[in-house]
């Protein structure tokens, strides 16, 4: 085969020119980022961002269809540029995947170049924009004239275009706020993670009850001199129940009795109690090498009660409360015009109310299941339906891709 060496910018432009184009757009982005003192892309809100996005889409389609024979337009919508931009996006994502995001001093070089906020920086924005142009042009040529043969291409590429563009253009419109509501109290104020200033919501939340379920407690050895818990014992067993055995450096611990909810009783023996007041108690036998076994009651902790611990040499055997299994808030949401919604919020089970989504977020960590308040995150994302439309189109395209791949294989074999 005779290898014909291409000269630079010999038409049609291919990978060399495309790599250069992608590199230039990234460099231009970094220069812009530096020139604007690391400010990043200014946020555009509704309706301006939607208008710009629609104009951008119309322009891309118009240029793609009006100038489809133009060499430059063909290059802009071609696979070589697409591949180069995929590489550029991958390299920028690599920066974001390695360098911790969002924690450097303002004015430092990383901040001026935007590498600590790469996904809202100019280089990323410009690369995505050119990528959308590339994707949009290639899409326009498959859309017109329309053919069912192209349906897989259209679903995948249009889905990707919609999800990416709406995700990027719409991100300034996302509102994420946090509400702190006391049990038996009502609030319509929320604050954002970035600033402490409160703002008023178009609805209020009344918290009837906050409740938390825990896994069984865990055994730990605690070193009072160093004020930290040793993990070794917890590694041999995790959840405390009757009959559990654990050992650590010649010390054997066996749980002889376990009361999930109890309070100290007479003679130092705990008595079962109500869940709202009681804590977990365990009777343990501690056997050290060459020593007589000792017996002790240990307990976990609550705001009303200090834990009971058992000494093992210079260490203490303690029982830490179990990790949370589930926590939920029973709430009533009241809109400005008086409509009422009563629901239970739980992790993974948000509710939709008046265009907002309400999430169970947290509680008073120190009080654990005795927390008197609940933290609720309220989120509004007007662009979500468009992004989801894109997602479902990508999935549909993928199903066809899979199917066609199998069919081609059968033809090939």
């Amino acid at each position: 085969m005779v290898v014909v060496r291409r000269r630079w910018f010999q038409t049609p432009w291919e990978f060399r020119e495309s790599s250069l184009g992608a590199a230039l757009i990234v460099v231009a982005g970094f220069i812009l980022q530096y020139a604007t003192s690391g400010q990043g892309v200014p946020p555009l809100h509704l309706p301006l961002n939607a208008v710009i996005l629609v104009l951008f889409a119309v322009l891309t389609l118009g240029v793609g269809l009006g100038f489809r024979e133009n060499r430059l337009v063909q290059w802009l919508g071609g696979i070589p540029l697409g591949l180069s931009l995929i590489v550029a996006l991958a390299l920028l994502s690599l920066i974001g995947g390695v360098i911790p995001q969002g924690e450097v001093a303002p004015g430092s070089l990383p901040a001026l170049l935007g590498v600590n906020q790469i996904f809202s920086s100019w280089p990323f924005a410009l690369t995505v924009l050119l990528f959308l142009v590339n994707l949009g042009l290639s899409l326009s040529w498959r859309l017109v004239p329309f053919s069912m043969k192209n349906i897989q291409f259209i679903l995948f590429h249009a889905g990707f275009w919609i999800a990416l563009s709406c995700g990027v253009f719409g991100s300034p419109d996302i509102q994420r706020l946090i509400m702190k509501v006391d049990e038996g109290g009502e609030s319509n104020m929320a604050y954002s993670r970035e600033s402490d200033s409160e703002q008023q919501l178009p609805f209020s939340v009344f918290l009837h009850d906050f409740s938390l379920e825990e896994y069984p407690p865990q055994l730990f050895l605690y070193d009072p001199r160093k004020n930290h818990a040793l993990q070794e014992l917890a590694k041999t067993t995790t959840l405390v129940h009757k009959g559990v055995k654990a050992s650590w450096k010649g010390v054997a611990v066996e749980v002889l009795d376990f009361l999930p909810n109890a309070l100290p009783g007479k003679n130092g023996i705990p008595e079962p109690a109500d869940r709202t007041a009681g804590v977990a108690f365990a009777k343990v036998r501690i056997t050290s090498t060459n020593a007589v076994p000792t017996y002790a009651w240990i307990s976990s902790i609550s705001p009303m009660m200090k834990p009971w611990a058992a000494p093992i040499g210079e260490l203490l055997l303690v029982m830490a409360p179990g990790t949370p299994k589930a926590f939920r808030s029973d709430v009533t949401v009241r809109g400005e015009s008086g409509q009422l919604v009563t629901a239970t919020l739980e992790v993974n089970h948000p509710i939709n109310v008046m265009g907002w989504k309400l999430y169970q977020m947290g509680y008073d960590d120190e009080a654990g299941r005795w927390s008197k308040y609940s933290l609720i995150e309220v989120i509004r994302d007007p662009w979500l339906p468009a992004v989801y439309l894109g997602f479902f189109m990508i999935m549909a395209g993928n199903v066809l891709f899979f199917w066609n791949g199998i069919k081609q294989k059968e033809v090939a074999s």
Partner: protein, 265 residues
């Protein structure tokens, strides 16, 4: 539990080893072919049985820790090898696959894990199993694709033509890409329900996006005039990005704030 992990792992590895040996002998004695296949298959069945009993004992799917995901890979990767042999009459892939599965099980035997039933509330979701399983199967396909591509590279270096091998690595990559896409989107839909947003550039998400881009790039290069033979190196190495995404992320500086780091035990 019916049997402990070490017994199950040793039984599976024993099955794969004797199955592989028998199938090497089967080249001369075709009568050994069926017992060889059945023994190799039994190795994976042992692992599937172990996962099922472990699941019911834990009261949660064993998909939470890195070690638990290795169990699944060990069970599934040999199955891909058998499937490829059945579909494309390519016999060598299954040896690599069983070798890889053995490697995963040996890691687990050297690093025994805590028997831990807890599952944090965010993981208690109907999305947990589809999200992780789709990724698991995708990774398995792409691991097999990468191994095939490496084999193709070695054949190329010895100047042997191998169109069939190239189409195997290609279709495995294609299947893997489809599954990665589903995993990514299932993850996004779940994240919206659990964390409030479908995409937060969490380091694991970033790396999942990167590995998706790597295979997106491969498919477009393939579609363009680039020779598939030349892309075998690329396919072989793309799996490294997936490995970073699977467990390498835990060791990166960016992982400090990740919601995705596997429980270390």
């Amino acid at each position: 539990m019916i049997f402990d992990f070490n017994t199950a792992a040793k039984a599976a590895i024993g099955c794969w080893a004797t199955g592989s040996l028998l199938s090497l002998f089967a080249r001369r004695t075709p009568a050994l072919k069926l017992p060889a296949l059945m023994l190799s298959f039994a190795g994976s069945l042992v692992m599937v049985g172990f996962i099922a009993s472990y699941w019911s004992l834990l009261d949660r799917p064993p998909l939470r820790t890195l070690g638990e995901t290795r169990l699944w890979y060990a069970a599934l990767i040999p199955l891909v090898g058998f499937l490829v042999e059945y579909r494309w009459k390519i016999t060598w892939l299954k040896y690599y696959c069983m070798g890889l599965a053995t490697f995963f099980l040996v890691i687990n035997m050297l690093h025994p894990e805590v028997f831990d039933k807890t599952l944090m509330p965010a993981l208690q979701s109907p999305w947990f199993i589809p999200h992780v399983v789709v990724y698991l199967v995708g990774y398995v396909m792409l691991a097999a694709s990468s191994v095939t591509a490496l084999h193709n590279v070695s054949l190329q270096l010895r100047a042997k033509g191998n169109v069939n091998g190239e189409s195997v690595s290609h279709y495995l990559a294609l299947l893997g890409f489809v599954l990665l896409s589903f995993g990514l989107i299932f993850g996004a839909l779940w994240a919206k329900e659990a964390w409030g947003h479908y995409w937060t550039w969490d380091p694991k998400e970033t790396w999942a996006f990167l590995s998706w881009l790597a295979y997106l790039g491969y498919l477009h290069a393939c579609r363009y005039k680039i020779d598939r033979g030349k892309l075998q190196w690329y396919l072989a190495l793309s799996f490294l990005v997936l490995l970073v995404c699977w467990f390498g992320v835990n060791y990166l500086p960016s992982a400090r704030n990740s919601v995705h780091t596997y429980t270390q035990s």
